[in-house]
Amino acid sequence: MTLVLLLLLFSMLLGLWRVIKGPTLLDRLLTIQLFGSSGVAILLVLSKLLALPALLDVALLIAILAAAAPAALVQRLGKSRADTRSLGKTP
């Protein structure tokens, strides 16, 4: 079980390179997505391992709110705003 946990965390660690290196904003946002889904998996395993059923609620919460940050991003920095010119477009 711990091994599963470690490997899941390792997959996040791989994603870390993308989030720091980029190069585009999309890559970074994707990594948040990855962190979200691997985080949910880790929480499920942890809840089994530590015998804390409440962690399932945490996982559900993260799962439900996974689309919240992208939705806010689209609303606040989406197309009709002129002032997002330089955001995340360093190739």
Partner: protein
Amino acid sequence: MGLLLFDVVLCALLLTLAGAAMLSRQLVHAVTLFIAFGVMMALAWARLQAPDLALAEAAIGAGLTGALCFTALARYAGDAGYPKPKLWLPLVFVAAVSALLLYSVFQIPAQPTTELSERVAEHLAVSGVSHPVTAVLLNFRAWDTLLELLVLLLALLGARQVPSQLPLHAGWSLSVSWSRLLSPMLLLLSAYLLWRGAAAPGGAFQAGALLASGLVILRLNQQLAWLSWQNFAVRTLVLAGLIAFVMAGLASLLLPGQLVWLSWPVALAGGIILLVETFATLAIALTLALLVVGEPEQEPADA
């Protein structure tokens, strides 16, 4: 052993994310990294057996921080052309301070002080709830919680003094329908968290923060036009948590034999706590939502 390795990797991830957020070239990257950092913090709380905090952190980190930061980011018109800051002087100083702090935390004895926990366990039976964290928050240290609700209210009052309108444009149909699909689920889940708070991890703040995230998502998709301070019902609910708390305190002070502020009579404690928590949840949800998305239309600052 395996768990220790897990801890090492988790801590390394946390530190890297925080460091990258502080040092990244562009602000939008800093914000993205910070959101990822929030998710990882929730994992750390889960690992450290603090499910209450993991719930709260997940609701805040995943739902509210993103909306807050992206709203602030929309204000930065491109890159404002800040001079490249010096790194070395701060780095040296901060490294010295960190070394000092590191040395200090290693002085912390590994032997826990258990007297306070024992006292909590002793009195749990007469606190009205069976989950110790809720008992501390709503009974043993209820005064802290009342003041904390006041801090939240003050943030809203302060933010209302400095309104700055960002127009809401029409949401994409996909996110609108997703938010509609989500809202009943969020409502149910927060009601469940609130109810569970009496016996298990959960409670007013977690439920409120979750509900607030739901309100924010809906509001950002141009729904809930009623969500405004000008609306008397909204205003009442924003204040309801504090009003219920203060009234409960004063009422129980009037009861015969109750001589001290915020001491709930044992027989009524469970009911009072549930009542206060329910109003506090609504208040927290609406306050946070108003704080994050602001007012729908431009109004003068003073009502």
